[in-house]
């Protein structure tokens, strides 16, 4: 029983650690796959989602930053977590649309390096803007009362309840995005555009419209990741930057443009980390990068990525 408990604990820990990466990677991957746009500001969208979620869900008292200095220390709306879960994706969707229009679109035909530079710059600007406004001091993001604290699971024993919700919410969202892309006309156009954008245009479909929606959905997913991932840690302006590299590695491992790949990559990351922490903690961080290196050496297109079609 003890061995079973160990295995199940590692499995749950791995899944919950991977879940946030999955949410981020799915968004990142569909943007990269369809728009061929390298978005280093994806972490900033996570940051926006986390703070927006915090301020919508709770009454927050800022302890540093300009707003506090100006006398607006109490900034939260206190509408509760469910409200945050509904409004943040919509809000970040709009942020995503604006970002597509004003940052991404002018750079679609520019080299990857230009895209990286402009989005990385944007990410730093957003981070420092949040730091200036809301302060560098970390803020607690309390878990919703209905899901905080431990829950006694059979075999495994006590497990943080919120982390089970993170797994569940991630699963639901990923399935929704998968169905959207695989089984709707919208998804059909997006997938066709990924294969051969010129041909789609020749068939009389205005492809920029679905593309902007793709960007919005990707952004929205990062926003949700911020809301559900926020209560796992304390909140400060670097949360977006911290999560960017693992999210990118997840995409690279899973394969660009593949939703299933992003899920596989995220779960693989989570499980590897959890397993290494259990058996060889000193190697837990190396594991992540070792997997990335092995995958890149043996399957450069990622585990479930397809090789480039056409030129």
């Amino acid at each position: 029983v003890s061995l079973l408990a160990d295995v199940l604990t590692i499995l749950l820990n791995g899944l919950q650690q991977g879940a946030i990466f999955v949410l981020l990677a799915v968004g990142l991957s569909i943007i990269l796959g369809t728009l061929k746009f390298v978005n280093f500001a994806h972490g900033a969208l996570y940051l926006v989602g986390t703070y927006a979620g915090l301020f919508i869900a709770l009454d927050v008292s800022l302890t540093s930053g300009k707003l506090q200095e100006w006398g607006y220390a109490d900034v939260g709306l206190g509408f509760g977590f469910l409200a945050a879960l509904i409004f943040v994706p919509l809000f970040v969707f709009v942020v995503g649309l604006l970002m597509e229009r004003f940052v991404a679109r002018p750079f679609y035909d520019r080299p990857d390096t230009d895209q990286i530079l402009v989005t990385f710059g944007l990410a730093i600007i957003v981070q420092e803007l949040f730091r200036a406004l809301f302060g560098s001091n970390s803020l607690p993001f309390e878990q919703p009362a209905w899901a905080s604290g431990p829950i006694a699971l059979p075999v495994v024993g006590n497990f943080p309840q919120w982390r089970l919700w993170v797994i569940a919410i991630t699963a639901v969202l990923v399935v929704m995005v998968y169905l959207l892309v695989e089984y709707t006309d919208f998804g059909l156009v997006v997938r066709a555009g990924t294969r051969d954008a010129e041909m789609v245009r020749l068939l009389g479909i205005k492809i920029s419209r679905p593309y902007i929606v793709v960007f919005g959905i990707g952004a929205s997913l990062a926003g949700v990741a911020g809301v559900v991932g926020g209560p796992l840690n304390v909140v400060n302006p670097t949360v977006g930057t911290d999560i960017l590299v693992p999210a990118f590695l997840t995409v690279v491992i899973g394969g660009v443009g593949s939703i299933a790949g992003a899920v596989l990559g995220g779960v693989l990351f989570g499980l590897t980390t959890a397993t290494l922490i259990a058996f060889a903690p000193a190697w837990s961080q190396v594991g992540l990068y070792a997997i990335a290196a092995i995958v890149l050496l043996t399957r450069p297109q990622g585990l479930l990525g397809s090789e480039e079609v056409g030129a």
């Binding site: 408990a5 604990t9 905080s148 024993g157 982390r163």
Partner: protein, 264 residues
């Protein structure tokens, strides 16, 4: 500021009295200089003074965000006490996650070194958890209260421990430069060596010459429940351990391995 060795020394008798002897403990520590020294010190004093036994001590990479897997291992270790040698943000994350995972239902938790921003970020998770702080705005003596008032006038909020530390140390340095009449480091160092002072809020302090370590009192605190916390009040001070009960001779403990080198 006291060092990691003294943290363990100050905590051991307090937690032994609170939780008893003959317990086993499991440590997680941030994998860098302070974390390694801190877990070493906890191991030494919990074993020698409190009579506890270490089950395991596991390094966590500095800046780890998600401690859940480490905490699962700790929970399954069968130990009675979990010591989280994480400071600042790392500490806020690890202790909050430990409470989320329900570890406090089966184990006592210790956070050897607190500061206020970290308590603020961890919120009610620190309830009842013992630790030490460098300084706290609740410490009641003239220099401390004078600093609190001046800081409040300037910034309109209560100063944190790190704010006091930064101010006090800058003042120390400035005064040493003034006494030396130069910024030349070897001269400034000589001014600080064996310098005694009692005007920065922690009573009598000595910058010991033999190993350059501050000899001072150590406040031992217990975190307050979320509902009892208010601006600037996150801990209850349970004991201010006198510096006479702490530290080590110049040829003992860490000082025995200390070689300062020359500075002409």
């Amino acid at each position: 500021m006291f060092n990691a060795y003294m943290t363990g020394q100050a905590l051991a008798p307090v937690v032994q009295e609170a939780y008893g002897s003959d317990l086993s403990f499991y440590q997680l520590y941030a994998d860098y200089n302070w974390g390694q020294t801190q877990q070493d010190s906890m191991n030494q004093f919990m074993t020698d003074v409190a009579g506890w036994e270490q089950v395991e001590s596991v390094a966590t990479p500095l800046g780890t965000k998600d401690y859940s897997s480490y905490l699962s291992e700790a929970a399954n270790s069968g130990a009675d006490v979990l010591i989280l040698n994480h400071y600042g943000l790392d500490g806020a994350n690890s202790v909050s996650q430990a409470i989320d995972a329900g570890i406090d239902e089966d184990m006592e938790i210790l956070v050897p070194l607190y500061n206020r921003p970290m308590a603020q970020a961890a919120g009610g998770a620190i309830e009842g958890i013992y630790g030490t702080v460098a300084w706290d705005s609740q410490i009641d003596n003239d220099p401390s209260q004078q600093f609190v008032t001046a800081f409040q006038d300037e910034y309109d909020r209560l100063p944190s421990g790190p704010a006091q530390l930064a101010y006090a140390q800058t003042l120390q340095y400035a005064a040493a430069v003034e006494r030396a009449g130069t910024f030349y480091p070897p001269e400034v160092i000589r001014q600080l060596e064996d310098y005694e002072y009692n005007n920065i809020g922690m009573g009598e302090e000595l910058m010991r010459g033999c190993d350059h370590q501050a000899q001072r009192d150590v406040p031992v605190v217990q975190g307050l429940a979320g509902a009892e916390q208010s601006e600037g009040r996150y801990f209850e001070i349970v004991n201010v351990t006198s510096r006479d009960e702490l530290g080590y001779a110049c040829d003992a403990g860490p000082a025995a391995e200390c070689e300062l080198g020359s500075y002409e």
